[in-house]
Amino acid sequence: MRITKEDGVLTVYLTGEIDHHTAKAAREQADAALTQEKPRLLRLDFSGVTFMDSSGVGLIMGRYRKAAALGAAVTVRGLTRRDERIVKMAGLGRLIRFEERKEITV
């Protein structure tokens, strides 16, 4: 998982399949970077994600809480239309900003 920081923006590039099993490592790495870097904005980039279930929503919710406690905003980028639908079921549409959506043609 690649993590970059530029101008106070911490970007976490998630990859592969996100489920309950894989979310743990992503969570730990993202939280470590968040605590260390204290960015003004945390951007979760899902462009490289090939599958996610509601564990992905839990991952976003948990990072939102952690970021909010540290005073950082959260944006999510590169979700597919269907994954964005799952995320919005949790009411996260009100709390975080969604950037470019990923268009998929398989």
């Binding site: 489920d19 309950h20 969570r27 279930d53 564990s55 929503v57 269907r82 799952i86 949790a90």
Partner: protein, 143 residues
């Protein structure tokens, strides 16, 4: 309803098997020539049901998760996910959106996602004995 095909899988309740279970379900469903969207729906729903069995059913013990998959004439795919774990005290409550007993990192959306990506979701649970979640999904396919 005539059965066209069936498959039974059993694996230990380890989180690494979440990916295996949804891949197996997708491979089984491929026989019905599903659309990409139907496959995505199925993978997501199976992932939720299997994760529930692992995270909740066997939160205190270890055991096996069983997947019974049947494809019927007319395109109905039925996936039954069973565990012999703790069971659910209040199924109606468990099915409510955002309800979770697992805390911070769980969204409480498992059943909501299953319901939104399947045609019917049936839950049978006996506290202390286990839970069976039946996912019905019509595969209309590319035709």
């Amino acid at each position: 309803m005539n059965k066209l095909n069936s498959c039974k899988l059993q694996f230990p309740a380890r989180s690494v098997n979440e990916g295996f279970a949804r891949a197996a379900a997708a491979a089984f469903a491929a026989l019905a020539d599903p659309t990409v969207e139907e496959l995505s729906d199925l993978r997501t729903a199976v992932s939720e049901a299997v994760t529930n069995a692992i995270v909740h059913g066997y939160r205190e013990t270890n055991g096996a998760v069983t997947l019974d998959m049947t494809l019927y004439e007319g395109g109905l795919l039925r996936v039954k996910v069973r565990d012999k774990g703790v069971g659910i005290e209040d199924v109606e409550k468990a099915r409510e959106p955002l309800f979770t007993t697992a805390g911070g990192e769980r969204s409480g959306l498992g059943f909501t996602v299953m319901e939104s990506f399947c045609d019917r979701v049936t839950v049978r649970s006996v506290p202390g004995r286990g839970t069976a979640v039946t996912l019905d999904k019509y595969i209309k396919g590319k035709a």
